[in-house]
Symmetry: C2
Subunit: 429 residues, 2 copies
């Protein structure tokens, strides 16, 4: 292991291997993470609640035998504050739920704890995973937004405070902050993971998300969430036969730097012998941005029924979204659900051989300022279709700011998507 | 209003009209419901928790102005004990969650309270809405099972303790107990209602359910859950042009009495000028029973991760289901999800004109005994396909025991299904 990499900069899988091989102890890793948090948290503000170093180490030491024999070795995990935890509040980024203490862990949290992960803390979310930003700043440039809504999870992982974190995506809440902060973000296929205890925003759109710095960690956490052994799954890198390229303009405004990033990845794929075909033009994906908005407005308005009773405690954009959902005709909502299904069929009808789509993960690098979290439009179409998505860092603009590219897989073919992502990771890093 | 109908026997909509017209007060209705509970609960055992008459009336009187001007007038609703309530425990029929007190109402509960409904109590559920029965007995014959898992909701509504109740269905948990007890049971299309705060069992199968004694009450509660005014929706009875009849044998064992019930309804439809076509034979629906079981086993095993840590507190059938899900190959699960989608397409491909399917709601009348809740197979295929379903009472066997017939609609066409159900209700009652 190179001495230039700090322990907290290792991936979760690398940490586990280092512990198993006796190079370092779990406490070494845990302390390195806390050192980084102490150095950086006052500027990054990734955490809504967190264990102190002492409390964390006490939890580890009280159950040392369990953690040492466990899969995840007592290593730290961040959990977006929209996901219930029985030992820490879950406030959903809203004053309405100040101090709210759930009685149960969400299932995803329980599974990670059972596998030997320790929840270091709850990461900052925008208000109800929608638009109103929390306190987090982009670790790559503090003057910029980290993106949202899983702002704290993306920032904490990108800034090497924790190796992995949980998030959720209804519009662009995993892919956008991962792209802006320079971490990996993965969104599972719709229906893939239990969302029990993850507070829903829109049932036809919500997906669980994961953040890491290496694809192997996504595969690892996926196996934990599915209660499968990693040995049951093919996790080897896989070169795709054919990919479909979706240029940003097909969805909406895209910066020159982002267009260039797509071209760079396309060239790398071609050079490696991958067959690359371009998604035909037309307005279908731009239309999907709007359809996604309809589905979201209809469902959020109904999911947030409790909160609708305290309008004075809701942000202006959320109130507007709920108003839109309230006054929307049901036919509009149903039409948008149908359009999402039709468009997914259309995407994969381009070729029998196509395995993934590549597309910009965001319109540009993270925008300056903290009053907004950037445009979600690059994620809306894929999210409306319920597809699994992963964004990979590694391509940067002239200033060194991250430009994420997303890989989009077929519904429920998350394993194949992650195998391909592992291969793409190897050619761009 | 006929003097032979007791007030507690009125539908929710009838109660509301009577109050609006000044014939009776809400307190009259509430007291009639409590009279019935006091007379019958020691035998029926529908309730896990309930407000006392005094506590209920105090809640009503403390907010009399709100309730009097509200849609639902302060009238009582039962809530299945798998659905969170902030003022009563939610134990999910399991000793693991004895005394569990959620911090929030489920969204469906919050919406009903906002519309002026009062939660009279929590109704008995089987263990985690799966097989192990609770204490409820069938109000039509105490020696028989009420069916499950929404046992208490079905029994309380059928026995006129409350006009309406909430339930949920993952296999047959609404349709079967409604059929056995002689109430109406309605299962929403998959994705139709917010399930926030309703404890999930299997995300690809779970649907919210409603119990009532008149179709108009289902339409009423649906409008509350969708935050729509009833005036925005066409709720008039609608005679279908064409129905598809699914005989029970296509799914599995069916009693002579149930076969006869389907024939009787078919004759009534033909006599009314409805075009009736018979679903072609083959094994697809029988296969769907098995596919449903695969999906359920895979997902329950993951959703009940917390509970899997206390195997000694789980029933034998639930342990077996979770074991099945743990050892199942992922390909089996994915194959079953695909089969459900393909079978739904196949059903509706029979004719462009077909609007609903009619089928037995259960294999027979409620079986004798309380150690099991009856076979779920008549519901499994439709539930796997995510279709909206309503079962109507009114047809009985030679002993007068209820034989429910279910009407199955197209996904997301719940409004049309309810309009047709309202018309069918008029020809069989």
């Amino acid at each position: 292991m190179s001495s230039s990499v700090k322990l907290n900069g290792l991936s979760l899988s690398q940490m586990m291997r280092s512990i198993e091989q006796g190079e370092h102890s779990a406490e070494d890793m845990i302390n390195a993470c806390f050192d980084q948090i102490e150095a950086r948290e006052s500027e990054v503000n990734a955490w809504q609640f967190q264990l102190s170093r002492e409390a964390y180490l006490a939890q580890y030491q009280d159950n040392r035998d369990f953690y040492q024999s466990s899969l995840l070795k007592g290593l730290p995990v961040g959990v977006k504050d929209i996901i219930d935890t029985k030992d820490m509040p879950t406030e959903m980024g809203s004053p309405i739920h100040k101090g709210r203490q759930p009685v149960d862990d969400a299932t995803c949290v329980a599974l990670i704890r059972q596998a030997g992960g320790i929840v270091l803390g709850k990461t900052v979310t925008t208000e109800f995973a929608y638009f109103k930003p929390g306190k987090t700043q982009n670790p790559k440039d503090l003057a910029r937004t980290p993106g949202g809504s899983s702002s704290g999870s993306a920032a904490a992982v990108a800034d090497e405070m924790v190796p992995v974190a949980l998030g959720s995506q209804t519009a662009a809440s995993v892919i956008r902050p991962a792209a802006y902060c320079g971490s990996i973000g993965y969104v599972g296929s719709r229906g893939e993971y239990s969302l029990r205890g993850g507070q829903p925003l829109a049932q036809s759109l919500d997906s669980l998300g994961l953040f890491s710095r290496r694809v192997e960690d996504i595969q690892l956490l996926r196996s934990v969430l599915l209660r499968q052994s990693l040995s049951e799954v093919d996790v080897s890198p896989k070169k795709p036969v054919q990919v479909l390229v979706c240029k940003g303009e097909l969805i909406g405004e895209t910066s020159v730097a982002m267009k260039d990033a797509v071209v760079r990845l396309t060239k790398a794929l071609l050079a490696a012998g991958v067959d690359v075909i371009e998604l035909e033009s037309g307005s279908r994906l731009q239309d999907m941005v709007e359809h996604h908005g309809h589905i979201m407005a209809w469902e959020v308005c109904r999911n947030l029924a409790i909160e609708s009773q305290s309008p004075e405690m809701l942000s202006e954009p959320l109130q507007q979204l709920m108003e839109q959902g309230k006054s929307m005709k049901r036919a509009t909502y149903l039409n948008s659900l149908q359009a999402a299904e039709d468009t997914a069929n259309w995407i994969w009808s381009h070729s029998d051989q196509v395995e993934i789509v590549i597309a910009p993960a965001a319109a540009d690098v993270a925008p300056l300022g903290h009053d907004k979290t950037g445009s979600p439009h690059m994620s809306r179409p894929w999210q409306a279709m319920g597809l699994p998505v992963i964004t990979l860092p590694g391509i940067v603009d002239a200033q060194g700011l991250p430009l994420g590219i997303q890989l989009i897989g077929k519904r429920r073919e998350d394993d194949a998507l992650l195998q391909i992502a592992k291969w793409v990771e190897s050619i761009i890093s």
